[in-house]
C-alpha cells in the first residue's frame, strides 16, 4: 500500500509496524508529529511527558518491562535527556528502545544549530539517519532489530527537511510482539560503580561489533556510476541534494548508519576515486572520521558549518553552475512571525514594554515578545532558563533589578523545567517576579496537551496540575492570577508584584486564541470620526490593526474581538461592529 506521508508520519508508521507498544515524548519542532501520528494507533500507548528526560526514562522503564519502546524529541531536547541516555547506553535494553532526535539545520524553529551526532558518539549509542519518508519507516523498524540484537538504545536522527517533507511510502502490516520477560539482573541494570565498570567493557565490545555491522549492513550502500572520478560520501537530506545536483556524474557512498561509522567500507570506496568529497550539514563528523582512518576527503572547506546545504549550493560549489534569477527592483519588507491576533501573551508584553521592564525570556510563542514593537525580552537561552537566570541576575544586582525585572515562561515550559528554578528562587531567596503565561496548551509546537491542561495525548481527561498550589507549595507566598485581556489590571499586578518585598508569581491565564474550543467575540471596527490617527493601537503589535490614510483599520478576517486595542484607545474609537 503506497501512501504520501510526512517523514514524521512515516516514522510513526515504522513504530506501528515494528510492534512498538510504548511511547513517551516531549513536543519539539521538527519532531512533534512522530508522537502525534503514532498516538492515533490504538495498539500503541503514547503520552506527552513533562520533559525529554522524563520521557526517555519512561521509555527505558518500558524497555526493561519487555516492550519495544520509543521517545522522540528535538535536538535540544536530547541535551535534557542526555543524562538517562549516557547510562542507558551502559544498561542496554530488554525490549528494543528507539530514540528519535530531530536536528534543525538552518534553524527554522530552534535556538541553536547543534549537531546531535555528537551525542551518539559521546554516549556510544548507534545512530541511523534516514533520507526520505520511506527510509524513516524502514530505519525505525531496523533500529528496533539493532537495539535488541546489540543490547543498546538506538537513535534515529532526522532533520527538518526529512521530518517535514512528504514523500511516497510503501507500508506494511504491524507485527505484534509478546513482551520479553523481565529477569532481575542488577549487574546489567543497576549502574553503581562496581556493576557499571563491567558494563563499560561491554559497551566498548559492542561498539566494535557495531562497527563490523556497519561495514556490511544494507543501511550503508554504494552507488557506483561507471567512469566517474569523484566519490561523494553523504547521508540524510544531503544525499538527496547531491543526487539532484550531481546525478550520475559522480559515485556515492550513502551512509544510513552515522554512528559508529564503517572503516573498511569508506577506505575501499575512497580508493576508487581521484577525489573524495564529504557532503554533510552542520559539523564535520564524517569528514573527521575519514581523516582519522587515513582517507583524504574534503568537505567543510567547501560547504562550511552553518545553515542548510541544497542542490544549488552543491552545483555552485562543485560545478560552478548558477541559476538565472528574476527579481524586482523593489524594497520588499520582511514578514517575521508575530503573535497572532487575540494572542493572550500580548497584554502582558504590553505592560512590560510600557514600563521598560527587563525580561528574562524562555522558549515558546512568547519569545516573539522580543521583536518590534513590543521589544520586551532581554535574553532567551533554553527551556526553563527564564526563571533560573532571573534569580542569578537579581542576586548580583539586588533590589534595583528585583523591582525592575521579571521572568516570563509558558505553562508547558514551566512544567518542563521552570519548577526547579522557582524552587531555587524560594530556597535561595531573591525577590524575583515570575510570570507564568498560562495559555492552557503547548502553543508553538502546534497545540499539545501538557500536565496543566487536564487532557492527555490520547484526548482523554487527565489529572491537572494546579499552578497556584504548586507555586505556593515550593514556598512562594504571593501568587496571583490575572486575565491578560484586561490591560489595566495586568499592568497593576505586574507593578505591585515588582514592588513586593518577597518573591512572587503572576499567572496570566487565558487560553490560546487558536484553540478550537475558544469562542471569539465578533471583530471590532474603527469609528473613523473618533479616530485621531494617534497610532497608540499600533504599540500592541497586533497583525489585525493597521493605519490606512491616517486612520486605524481593523482587518475583520483576523480580528477575534479580544478588545485590548479598544481598552488602549483614548478616544473610544474602537467599537463593536
Amino acid at each position: 500500500m503506497k501512501k504520501l506521508l510526512l517523514g514524521n508520519a512515516a516514522f510513526a508508521r515504522g513504530l506501528y509496524e515494528g510492534g512498538c507498544k510504548f511511547i513517551s515524548s516531549y513536543p519539539g519542532t521538527p519532531s512533534t508529529e512522530i508522537t502525534e501520528e503514532a498516538a492515533k494507533y490504538s495498539e500503541i500507548y503514547a503520552e506527552w511527558a513533562p520533559n525529554e528526560k522524563v520521557a526517555m526514562e519512561a521509555a527505558f522503564g518500558a524497555s526493561v518491562a519487555g516492550a519495544r519502546s520509543f521517545c522522540g524529541m528535538k535536538h535540544v531536547g536530547l541535551n535534557v535527556a542526555a543524562d538517562p541516555l549516557y547510562t542507558a547506553a551502559y544498561t542496554g535494553v530488554n525490549g528494543g528502545m528507539v530514540i528519535a532526535v530531530a536536528d534543525d539545520p538552518g534553524m527554522h524553529s530552534s535556538q541553536n544549530e547543534q549537531d546531535s551526532r555528537h551525542h551518539a558518539i559521546a554516549s556510544k549509542v548507534p545512530m541511523l539517519e534516514p533520507s526520505d519518508s520511506q527510509e524513516c519507516r524502514d530505519f525505525v523498524m531496523e533500529a528496533f532489530e539493532i537495539s535488541e540484537k546489540f543490547d543498546t538504545p538506538v537513535i534515529v536522527r532526522t532533520s527538518t527537511r526529512i521530518a517535514h517533507s512528504q514523500s511516497v511510502v510503501e507500508c506494511g502490516d504491524r507485527t505484534e510482539r509478546e513482551l520479553y520477560e523481565y529477569k532481575k539482573n542488577p549487574q546489567k541494570y543497576v549502574m553503581m560503580p562496581a556493576y557499571a565498570k563491567g558494563r563499560h567493557v561491554f559497551v566498548e565490545e559492542r561498539t566494535a561489533k557495531l562497527t563490523e555491522f556497519a561495514e556490511t549492513s544494507a543501511l550503508n550502500r554504494t552507488e557506483i556510476n561507471p567512469g566517474t572520478r569523484m566519490g561523494i560520501i553523504t547521508s540524510g537530506a544531503s544525499f538527496q541534494y547531491a543526487k539532484e545536483a550531481l546525478g550520475e556524474t559522480v559515485s556515492y557512498l550513502k551512509l544510513g548508519m552515522v554512528n559508529p561509522l564503517p572503516v573498511k567500507l569508506i577506505q575501499e570506496f575512497a580508493a576508487r576515486f581521484d577525489e573524495v568529497i564529504v557532503i554533510e550539514e552542520l559539523d564535520d563528523v564524517i569528514e573527521a572520521h575519514c581523516r582519522y582512518i587515513g582517507v583524504n576527503a574534503r568537505g567543510k572547506e567547501i560547504f562550511g558549518y552553518t545553515g542548510e546545504i541544497s542542490q544549488t549550493v552543491i552545483a555552485e560549489k562543485l560545478l560552478g553552475k548558477k541559476n538565472d534569477i528574476i527579481s524586482l527592483d523593489e524594497n520588499i519588507p520582511v514578514r517575521p512571525p508575530v503573535m497572532c491576533a487575540g494572542c493572550p501573551h500580548r497584554g502582558v508584553f504590553y505592560a512590560l514594554s510600557k514600563n521598560k521592564i527587563t525580561v528574562s525570556g524562555d522558549i515558546g510563542c512568547y519569545t516573539l515578545g522580543a521583536v518590534a514593537p513590543l521589544n520586551s525580552m532581554d535574553w532567551t537561552v533554553c527551556m526553563g532558563a527564564s526563571v533560573s537566570a532571573l534569580h542569578g541576575y537579581n542576586k548580583v544586582l539586588g533590589e534595583k533589578s528585583e523591582k525592575r525585572s521579571v521572568a516570563v515562561i509558558g505553562d508547558s515550559t514551566f512544567m518542563h523545567s521552570g519548577i526547579t528554578g522557582l524552587v531555587n528562587i524560594a530556597y535561595n531567596s531573591t525577590n524575583s517576579t515570575v510570570i507564568i503565561l498560562d495559555n492552557s496548551i503547548t502553543g508553538m509546537t502546534g497545540h499539545q496537551q501538557n500536565p496543566t491542561t487536564g487532557m492527555n495525548l490520547k484526548g482523554d481527561p487527565a489529572a491537572a496540575v494546579n499552578l497556584e498550589e504548586l507555586c505556593r507549595a515550593v514556598g512562594i507566598k504571593r501568587v496571583r492570577v490575572v486575565d491578560p485581556y484586561k490591560l489595566g489590571e495586568t499592568e497593576k499586578a505586574v507593578l505591585e508584584e515588582l514592588e513586593a518585598d518577597e518573591p512572587s508569581v503572576i499567572i496570566s491565564r487565558r487560553p490560546c486564541a487558536l484553540l478550537k474550543y475558544v469562542k471569539h467575540n465578533p471583530p471590532l471596527k474603527v469609528d473613523t470620526d473618533k479616530c485621531k490617527g494617534c497610532k497608540m493601537c499600533l504599540k500592541l503589535g497586533c497583525p489585525a490593526v493597521s493605519i490606512v490614510n491616517g486612520k486605524a483599520v481593523i482587518n475583520h478576517t483576523q480580528c477575534v474581538g479580544c478588545g485590548i486595542c479598544a481598552e488602549l484607545c483614548k478616544f473610544d474609537s474602537i467599537v463593536n461592529q
Partner: protein
C-alpha cells in the same frame, strides 16, 4: 518526465498546508513520484511561509531553490514578489490579490510597495491574479481562499477534474467539504 517544481507561498495561518496536501494527493493519484516540503513551528505564526511541491519520475531534493520553480502559487501579493526570484525563466505565477501588512509596515518602519502584480507582469511573467478572499467569502468562509486558489490552479495544470475532486474528498473533513467544493468551483470559474 523531468521534475516539475511548484511553490505555495503565503502568510502563516492562510492554509498553505491544505493546499499543498491537495496538490500532493493529485500528483500521487497520477502515479508520479512526489515530495512536499512544509514549514511548521515558529514561522507559522503570521510569518512568510513557503511549501515546496516537486514531482516527476524520481524526485530527490525536497526543496526548491532560486531560479527553479515552474509555478508559484501565492496567497498574498507581497509574498508573490518576495518569492519571485525562485521562479524559473518562463515560469508562471498564480496569486490572490489580497494584501496583508507585515509588522514592519504596521509599525511604520517600512511601506507596502504599490502595484506589485503589474510590476511582476512588467518582467514578462505570466501572472494570473484573482480576488480569492472575496470568492472564499462568497463560498461561505474567508478561510477557504486556499481552496479557491487551488481551483484556479486546476485550470492551469493538466490534471483531470476527477482527480482534484477525489483529493478534495480525501483532504477536507466531511463537514467542510461542501463549502470547499464551492470555493474550488468559484476558483475554476475565476481562472477562465
Amino acid at each position: 518526465m523531468e521534475t516539475k517544481s511548484v511553490m505555495i507561498v503565503g502568510v502563516g495561518g492562510q492554509g498553505s498546508l491544505l493546499a499543498s496536501r491537495l496538490l500532493g494527493n493529485v500528483i500521487l493519484a497520477k502515479g508520479y513520484d512526489v515530495k512536499v516540503s512544509e514549514v511548521h513551528g515558529m514561522s507559522q505564526r503570521g510569518g512568510s511561509v513557503v511549501t515546496y511541491v516537486k514531482y516527476g519520475d524520481r524526485v530527490y531534493s525536497p526543496v526548491i531553490e532560486k531560479g527553479e520553480a515552474d509555478v508559484i502559487i501565492s496567497f498574498e501579493q507581497l509574498e508573490a514578489a518576495r518569492w519571485l526570484p525562485y521562479l524559473k525563466k518562463g515560469g508562471k505565477i498564480i496569486t490572490s490579490d489580497q494584501k496583508l501588512d507585515p509588522m514592519p509596515v504596521i509599525t511604520g518602519a517600512a511601506e507596502y510597495p504599490e502595484n506589485l502584480i503589474d510590476k511582476i507582469r512588467g518582467k514578462g511573467i505570466d501572472v494570473t491574479a484573482v480576488d480569492a478572499l472575496a470568492l472564499a467569502e462568497e463560498a461561505g468562509n474567508a478561510k477557504a481562499s486556499n481552496v479557491v486558489l487551488m481551483g484556479v490552479v486546476s485550470q492551469k495544470t493538466d490534471f483531470e477534474e476527477e482527480v482534484w475532486q477525489a483529493a478534495l474528498e480525501q483532504c477536507v473533513p466531511p463537514k467542510f467539504l461542501e463549502l470547499n467544493k464551492k470555493a474550488f468551483e468559484l476558483g475554476k470559474a475565476a481562472a477562465k
